[in-house]
């Protein structure tokens, strides 16, 4: 038992230090394209702004949507931005480039390096700037909503962060499953539009769904949990049921995602040419 714990800890330390190396390299790389970076931030803020305008127009006509008022919804919309930024800082970009890596043979190099291929893929292009505008704007929206909600409590922030990480695990698992198909199609762009819509639809409250839709957006395309669960905690709307559901979905989906991924990897190494 102790040996296993030790081994686990060592692996963890090794991958954390690998993550640090990759992050430094990527930051150096991004520094070269500083101009792009400024434009990307402006664009992100613009897109988030359109989302805010969208909801502002809706809330000019209605009081609540699925029980969420405007300020609560802003926490929700902001949380999506924060989740996306952290995802780009940890794993997202690699999946977008998987098809290209396979075509250019760079993925083959990942298979021969003494490092888990999925971690290698995730870290290869961790990007601070890709979604930075969204992250900053997201934080601002969360702060804005939080400040206008009398029921929001400071003490809920640690729990909010925990559930944010849980959402990232769900996001990662979904990416793994969708991108397993890249090994057959050798194109990642279109597959990842599905992932894009998945995260894009996370900004609506989970309460809008009914019946089959509710099950679908919980278990198949679990976008209704990604932002709703953390935002519900911060805005004092959460219940134990929702939290347990989110944790459970994350656990199941992650094991399933890894299984599908490894199986596809096996297919790749028996079928690519």
């Amino acid at each position: 038992m102790k040996r296993w714990v030790n081994k686990g800890a060592r692996t963890m330390v090794r991958y954390l230090s690998l993550y640090r190396s990759f992050l430094t390299h990527n930051l150096k790389n991004e520094m070269i394209y500083r101009a792009n970076f400024a434009i990307a931030v402006v664009m992100d803020i613009f897109f988030m702004g359109v989302n805010v305008v969208f909801f502002a127009i809706l809330y000019a006509n209605v009081e609540t949507i699925g029980g969420w008022n405007f300020h609560q919804t802003m926490v929700l919309v902001g949380s999506v931005g924060v989740v996306r930024e952290i995802a780009y800082l940890t794993f997202r970009q690699g999946f977008l480039e998987l098809g290209e890596y396979i075509r250019t043979g760079r993925f083959d190099a990942m298979l021969t390096a003494p490092m888990a291929p999925n971690a290698h893929l995730a870290f290869r292009h961790v990007s601070l700037t890709e979604s930075l505008g969204e992250g900053l704007m997201g934080l601002a929206l969360v702060g804005y909503g939080f400040a206008h909600l009398p029921e929001a409590a400071w003490s809920s922030i640690p729990f909010y962060l925990v559930m944010l990480i849980n959402s990232l695990l769900i996001y990662y698992a979904f990416c793994l499953m969708i991108n397993s198909a890249v090994f057959w199609l050798v194109k990642s762009q279109e597959l990842n539009t599905v992932v894009y819509y998945f995260i894009d639809t996370a900004r609506y409250p989970r309460e809008i769904y009914r019946g089959m839709g509710k099950a679908f957006f919980t278990f198949i395309v679990p976008s209704s949990l990604i932002a709703t669960t953390p935002a519900a905690i911060l805005t004092g709307r959460a219940n134990g049921e929702l939290v347990i559901l989110s944790l459970g979905v994350a656990a199941v989906l992650l094991s399933l995602g890894l299984a599908v991924w490894n199986w596809s990897l096996q297919h790749y190494s028996s079928a690519s040419s």
């Binding site: 664009m43 969208f54 699925g66 762009q189 599905v194 639809t201």
Partner: protein
């Protein structure tokens, strides 16, 4: 003319190669619309109401928006920006083709291909949603609607072609492309019906020609458009004007391309 039809057919074959990816991005689009339908349903269940839209008006609006997204809205600027940036645009300079006509045919075959696929998807969705769909009551509505779609297709291509040509002058054309496309998307009424906008935005949207892409055809279908014929004429005039404008800009762009070289 014949050569442009060949372009059309060749790209049609090319598009067929992408049926898998196209199908997948269509699924993503379906997902987006289904979520919106749930959103409207939740609002109307709570006895909210948006403007003078009934729930079935809104559902119809977004189903049509999805169709228009595939059949009408052009994404030619993707390829145009790439060709200019990577220098493959030179291939068009040495050949006896007009780049505007060429790109249009490429776009046309993509739109027909995506259109065929989206109609199948919307057909399936409509089957489930039939009780919630607002159908036109007058036969001429369908005629006007189809005319509006065709004109919308021309205009959307023209706007997107113009965005693509920015690459002649801007190094960062891609970033601007995204933003401009999204602004057009917004003021076309693809995100929300334009008459739900606050008054100031509504005024802006009325002046801009982008509403002919999405909002105007759907209003015709929902029979909420008071002046369909005038609108169609205006859209056609915009189209003709843009055609000459684009040919002019293209010539200027080529002159710059030849002078600078990329």
């Amino acid at each position: 003319m014949r050569k442009y039809w060949t372009v059309f057919w060749v790209n049609w074959q090319n598009a067929l190669q992408y049926r898998g990816p196209t199908f997948i991005s269509l699924l993503g689009n379906v997902l987006r619309v289904v979520v919106l339908l749930y959103l409207w349903n939740a609002i109307y269940r709570g006895e909210g109401r948006l403007g003078d839209y009934s729930l079935s008006d809104l559902i119809t609006y977004y189903l049509l928006q999805m169709v228009i997204n595939s059949i009408v809205l052009s994404y030619s600027s993707w390829e145009i920006v790439d060709q200019i940036r990577e220098g493959t645009f030179s291939n068009f300079l040495v050949r006896p083709v007009n780049y505007l006509h060429y790109s249009f045919m490429i776009n046309f075959s993509w739109k027909l291909f995506e259109g065929a696929m989206v109609l199948a998807a919307v057909g399936v969705l409509s089957f489930f949603l039939l009780p919630y769909i607002t159908l036109p009551s007058r036969p001429e509505t369908i005629f006007f609607f189809i005319l509006a779609l065709i004109l919308g297709g021309f205009l959307s291509f023209a706007f997107d072609f113009a965005i693509g040509l920015l690459a002649f002058w801007l190094v960062q054309a891609n970033a601007f492309k995204y933003m401009l496309q999204y602004i057009i998307f917004f003021f076309a009424g693809a995100l929300l019906p334009l008459d739900l906008f606050p008054p100031l935005f509504q005024t802006v949207a009325k002046v801009l020609p982008f509403r002919y892409l999405v909002f105007f055809p759907i209003q015709i279908f929902l029979e909420k458009e008071p002046h369909p014929v005038e609108g169609l004429l205006a859209a056609a005039l915009w189209g003709i004007g843009l055609y000459f404008f684009l040919q002019f800009v293209l010539r200027r762009g080529i002159a710059r391309y030849e002078a600078v070289g990329q």
